[in-house]
Structure formats: C-alpha cells, structure tokens
C-alpha cells in the first residue's frame, strides 16, 4: 500500500513538473514590419534595425515588459552625409554607444490605451519616459503603436541649435510574435 502511494505520488510529481516546465511563456519577440520614425522641422527619418523582447499576457496587461534596442547605425535620414554625421561623437557616438535602448518598468492600461513607463537609454544616458501606446492583438502577433517626443538635448545628442530642434517626434509601430 505504502509502495503504491509513493509510486503514484512520484508519477504525479513528474507529470506536474513536466507540464510546468513546458508551459509556454508569454514571450514575444520583435518581428518584421516594424518602423521607428522620427520627425522634426529638420531632420526627419527612421531607424531601420531593432530587436528585443516583450512579455505580454492579454489577461494581465499591466505585467507587460518591454526590452527593446535600436541600432543607431541604421539611421536613415534620406541624406547619406547626414546619416554619416549622426554617428560621430557629437551626435550618437555610435562607435561607443551602438544601441538606443528602452526597458519598461511599469505599464498601465486605460480603456484601449497603454501608458508605458520605462528607462530610455541613448548615448549611455538613461532617462525615464512615459510613452502612450495602443496595441492590436491578432492571433500570435501583437502590434504596438504610439507617438512620443524625445528631447535630444537630455541625451547629449548634438548641441542646442537654431537649425535642429530639441524635440524629435518619434512614431513607432512594433509588431511582436510569440516565440
């Protein structure tokens, strides 16, 4: 009798631990079709390369976590000289800081809108930003969209200038797929 109980208990433990170990995570990764555009009086353009992960659970939106990075060398302003200039020490210093990063710390939901609070790191300088966003879920794919302003001076990207405005309007569309 004792032997039967311990055998059954062991089998139950095996089934439980196996099912928990293989339980799918709410883990998403950035998929193709993303866009990170920035706009100002001059310049405007986009970043062509990014990747990262998003922990997303439809039933628990507030536990969503973003961990994204953008390759600053992938900047495209439509002007080759300007792209090249943006990599120098005065601007992005791409040699030393190849990525702009965003890591969320808090996500809140109001209606269909999200408010994503997180640490934005550009050129090694980290500032807390609150980014408004919306999301659309379609099967195993979720697309986040939003617009926010980045003050380049806060991140020492270039100097104050009459030609280049301080504020850049960033518009993003980030589709992520379940892994």
């Amino acid at each position: 009798m004792k032997k039967t109980i311990s055998t059954v208990g062991l089998i139950a433990l095996t089934v439980l631990s196996t099912s928990l170990a293989w339980m799918p995570l709410t883990h998403y990764e950035v998929s193709t079709g993303y866009s990170i555009d920035f706009k100002s009086k001059d310049p405007s353009g986009s970043f062509k390369t990014m990747d990262g992960t998003v922990e997303f659970d439809d039933a628990n939106i507030e536990a969503t976590q973003f961990n994204l990075k953008i390759d600053v060398k992938s900047i495209s302003t439509g002007n080759g000289m300007m792209n090249k200039k943006s990599q120098i020490e005065e601007w992005f210093n791409a040699e030393k800081f190849p990525f702009a990063k965003f890591k969320s710390t808090k996500v809140t939901k109001k209606g269909d809108d999200l408010s994503i609070v997180g640490d934005l790191t550009i050129k090694g300088i980290t500032k807390q930003y609150t980014i408004p966003a919306t999301y659309v879920k379609n099967g195993d794919k979720v697309t986040f969209k939003g617009t926010f302003n980045v003050n380049r001076i806060e991140f020492k990207v270039g100097h104050k200038s009459d030609v280049v405005p301080d504020l850049m309007k960033v518009t993003f569309q980030v589709p992520v797929s379940k892994k």
């Binding site: 208990g9 631990s17 196996t18 170990a21 995570l25 990262g52 961990n67 990075k69």
Partner: protein
C-alpha cells in the same frame, strides 16, 4: 524502485540549478525574461525523474550492465542536447553568453542521479 533516490536526485538537481541560475542572474546577466528560475527548477525535477523511470526500464530490458548502458546513453544524449541552446537565438542583451549559461544545467540531472545512485542499490 527506490523513491528516496528519485526524490533526492530530483530535488537536489532543482536546488542546485535554482541557486546557480539565481546567482548568475544577480552577478552576471539576467536572462529571466527568456528563462525564469521557476521553469529551470521544474524542468530539472522533471528531467531527473524521467531519468529515474528510464533507468528502471533499462534494468528490465537490458540483461547485462543496464546501469552502464543507461549512463552511456544519457551521457551521449546530454552532450547532444547542448547543441540546442547553441543554435537557439535569444533576443536579449548579451545573447552570446546564453549558451554558456544554460549548458551546465543540462548536466545536472545525470550528475545528481549518479550522486545518489548508491541509495538505489539499498534494499
């Protein structure tokens, strides 16, 4: 069948694995978004218990030296299994360190199984 052997092997693999992962995340790099500690813990319990059942099967099926053939088979399988994290692309910072972090975990179930194997031979 020695339940004590199975449980001691499984829970020691789980504890060692959880400690290793916890300290790795604290001291080197946090991969918890792709591999949370609880998943490692349950995975190690699961794999160690599965080893235990397969060993029972070897003892029934293989006539000569079943434990030797079991050990040899799973040593080879463990080495083969490290190919998976080497090929798996994870989208996190320091992703190049991910295989090096995860590979030691693959050896824990077999290591703990044989650490407590003496219990299996006790009546």
């Amino acid at each position: 069948m020695n339940v004590k052997h199975a449980l001691l092997s499984a829970f020691s693999a789980c504890l060692l694995g959880a400690f290793y992962v916890y300290f790795y995340y604290q001291m080197l790099f946090d991969f918890s978004t792709v591999l949370p500690i609880w998943k490692v813990a349950f995975g190690l319990i699961s794999f160690t218990l599965i080893l235990f059942y397969v060993h029972l099967l070897f003892k029934r099926v293989v006539k000569q030296n079943p434990t030797f053939w079991f050990g040899l088979t799973f040593s080879i399988l463990t080495f083969v299994s490290i190919l998976y994290p080497m090929m798996d692309r994870v989208y996190v910072d320091a992703a190049e360190f991910y295989p090096g972090f995860v590979i030691p975990l693959h050896f824990l179930p077999l290591l703990m199984f044989f650490t407590f194997y003496q219990l299996d031979t006790q009546k």
